[in-house]
Symmetry: C2
Subunit: 481 residues, 2 copies
């Protein structure tokens, strides 16, 4: 047989690395690529550990519990407060950032730029040199937004006096937070820190936040799931496209803002600013997603992913069972479209807490709702629809609160199961903006990326080890990881 | 051969009437239905006249001219004025209505109800009996909105002091008009005329119109094609669904309304009202479509349809070549979903000028943009996409200003060619609301209907006769129909 194979023209079914098929074809043979990837990223040991978890009854039951808590969440924006006042356990001279914890020395350019800008904004230093010296002297404590119930887009830099949306989930008794969106162009979250950036942040703190807080007081809480659901029927995917949700939010807030007694000129400036920024809603989308997912945290043995976030150096995920523990891998570069004058060589690695939207079944998972987004990131409407379908392979279920019109109102996939990612090789897709790798320049494009397999393999192995450990101790001592 | 046919089990390819295929099937045979309809509605004489016009060079050239003028239109809302002040040649004691002209005695229930309500609104009578007596005595002149550059939804009833959006098309030097939308429920356009209806209309005239006029003055003209294009990317089809366009309009008008010096409480009431009515934009959509289509009027020999409108009794169309002449047929009943407690037996016939949106390539023609609408009218997302594709068979071209995301941003079909309708048997589809057949009750459902073939056959025959007439006279005397 092997003699025949070597003599004839080979016709090969190729599983795995495409270059092999290319070699067959260049030798005159025919080859068909099959989109197959080995489980657990190809590691034999991890593959065996994964196999022990597939259909494990304890994990299945835990995932059902976590997923039900996620589905039951009813996040509503109830107010606005300063980070130092509303974030649990935030220290006075603390700056929070996106993704897993990262030391100042290791931070990427945009995050360093944003940190220095936040120091100027807080008045802790008068210029960038002094700000840098303050950090170098150890005068600033850093921590992850996610450790304080918060999520911040791109660098995610959050300092004590910044105003935060307060999103409460009465069904789970938890709350989540995110700052106010600055708009596009030169903005702190992309690492810009010039005078106009600082001035805008101060206006947002000193005027915008007050108008919004009074309007919200006058109006009462605004339920965010119905608003996001409506926006999904209007072409948003609630991550990279928020044009509809921003309009709907403005429509909801205008009447109470006009009734609440706020200075009319302040109201005019506030709504002029919001009306000029189609991304304004993204922070509320993130806080809503964070509130929904935090409700699913801490269920022992659940492999449900509760956060995906990038600090610009590493991509990190958390699972329900493992709480605040991060499973990280190098952050990928983003496959996307660049603004004129920029290219891949200018790009920072994937950054930001905004992948919390994909973790909650929005963004890339709800791409079928937003065919307009694929043009922004490069692609076709059919690819958008295929993406939402593909994500069903790695989720625990679907979220009936979020439906996709073009799929005849099928519910969007939600609740990533780390096991399914490791088993299928299908990576969660993430829609994202692209920052310049140097501080101070800002956004240079947008695109699509994927969470690295290594994060999910690590998470699955941690779960395997915990289950193995539990098997060795008396059952009465089990109960959490 | 015929003996064989009669002896065996028949296998039939059925063109045309489906009942024939049913008969074959009930007799144990197999039959495949082909969706074929005879040209010109099946009339042999009209079919021959139509054949003489297909690919006629003079009509082809005329249609190119008309279609270019349509595409070149740049409708912008520039202000608000009273009907009597802004509509060309509107008389003082005149009431305008939707569709082709119809006498009081022939009007359907909802239109009669709206007429009586308008008389009360204008203060020409103190109660419904007096209003009826006034009409019966000949004290009111009636005319079609379309004869005065206007388009009104449902009954379309427009009286002299009603505020009208002014939409100008500088590219064509023309203007179009439509009233302000009252919202859903008991409203004049559906024939309701109780005290709350009249009170709301007076508030709209005395406060709402003023706020909007001042905001527009402060802002300057708002281009409507880009706004509608954006709404199509947000799930609207700009006829039965205007949620996105309404939000976008509010977002545009809030900042100037807050700057323009209008009383803040009036501004609050105005925007509270608009924010509560997702259909608020429809009148602007209609005026924009009317402005685009009027630019294409009066091109000799053009078979492009410039208006489709229903007066509740007859469905009427106009073509470019034939100006204000109407080609009418009985208005169809609407195939739709009814609100709880109502059914087809309660429905008025198809009514309103809003089919001007389909005439301009929106509404049913852009249904692929709005999968959410098919749920409202009964149907699936794939049917919405199929509808937009099907309409390409009867249009002169496509409108690059209006693109459909789910079809990878293909341009929406636009510019109905009366010849193609008559030739293909494909009827223009129309999304519409359904009014109760009695006055004063209001909307009872929504659905999809189609323009009757007879209108297009008449229009084609008129064009044939004109071309035949031209052939008999010296060419120098030609120049218009």
């Amino acid at each position: 047989m092997s003699g025949d194979l070597l003599k004839g023209v080979p016709a090969v079914l190729n599983l795995g690395v495409g270059a092999f098929a290319e070699a067959i074809r260049s030798g005159g043979g025919t080859a068909v690529d099959v989109d197959w990837r080995p489980p657990a990223g190809g590691s034999r040991e991890a593959g065996m550990e994964l196999a022990s978890l597939v259909s494990h009854p304890r994990i299945e039951a835990a995932n059902r519990t976590a997923f039900e808590r996620f589905l039951a969440a009813e996040p509503a924006v109830t107010g606005i407060g300063s980070a130092i006042d509303v974030l649990p356990e935030m220290g006075a001279r603390t700056i929070l950032h996106a993704g897993a914890p990262v030391a100042w020395e290791a931070m990427c350019g945009p995050m360093r730029g944003a940190v220095l800008g936040a120091i100027l904004f807080e008045g802790w230093a008068d210029d960038l040199d002094a700000a840098r010296a303050l950090v170098d002297s150890g005068g600033i404590a850093f921590d992850s937004c996610h450790h304080h119930g918060a999520a911040g887009p791109m660098s995610g830099v959050t300092s004590p006096s910044m105003p935060m949306w307060i999103v409460e989930n009465p069904a789970g008794g938890n709350a989540a937070f995110s700052g106010l969106n600055e708009g596009l162009g030169k903005v702190l979250r992309f690492g810009a820190n010039g005078p106009e950036v600082i001035e805008r942040l101060r206006w947002m703190r000193d005027e915008l936040a007050g108008v919004l807080a009074r309007a919200l007081d006058e109006n009462g809480p605004i339920e965010l799931k119905p608003l996001i659901a409506q926006a999904l029927h209007m072409g948003d995917e609630a991550h990279n496209r928020n044009a509809a949700a921003t309009s709907l939010l403005i429509k909801r807030l205008v009447p109470p803002a006009l009734r609440c007694g706020a200075d009319p000129e302040s109201v005019a400036r506030a709504f002029g600013f919001m009306a000029g920024n189609d991304h304004f809603f993204i922070n509320l989308s993130m806080a809503a997603c964070k509130a929904m997912l935090d409700a699913a945290r801490g269920v022992p043995f659940s492999s449900m992913v509760t956060a995906m976030a990038r600090n610009g150096v590493e991509f990190g995920i958390q699972t329900s069972a493992t709480g605040d523990r991060w499973f990280t891998a190098p952050a990928p570069l983003v496959d996307g479209l660049y603004f004129s004058g920029f290219g891949k060589e200018d790009a920072a690695r994937d950054i930001g807490d905004s992948a919390i939207t994909e973790t909650a079944g929005l963004g890339g998972f709800a791409m079928a709702a937003a065919p307009a987004i694929v043009r922004f990131v490069g692609g076709s409407a059919s690819e958008a629809i295929a993406a939402s379908r593909e994500m069903r392979r790695i989720t625990i279920g679907e979220n009936p609160a979020f439906t996709l019109p073009v799929l005849d109102f099928a519910a969007a996939p939600a609740g990533i199961d780390a096991r399914r990612v490791a088993d299928s090789g299908v990576l969660p897709i993430v829609n994202t903006g692209i920052a310049h790798r140097e501080a101070g320049i800002g956004q240079i494009g947008a695109g699509i990326t994927a969470a690295p397999m290594e994060c999910f393999v690590q998470a699955v192995r941690a779960l395997h080890h915990e289950i193995a450990r539990q098997a060795e101790v008396p059952a009465t001592r089990s109960g959490g990881i």
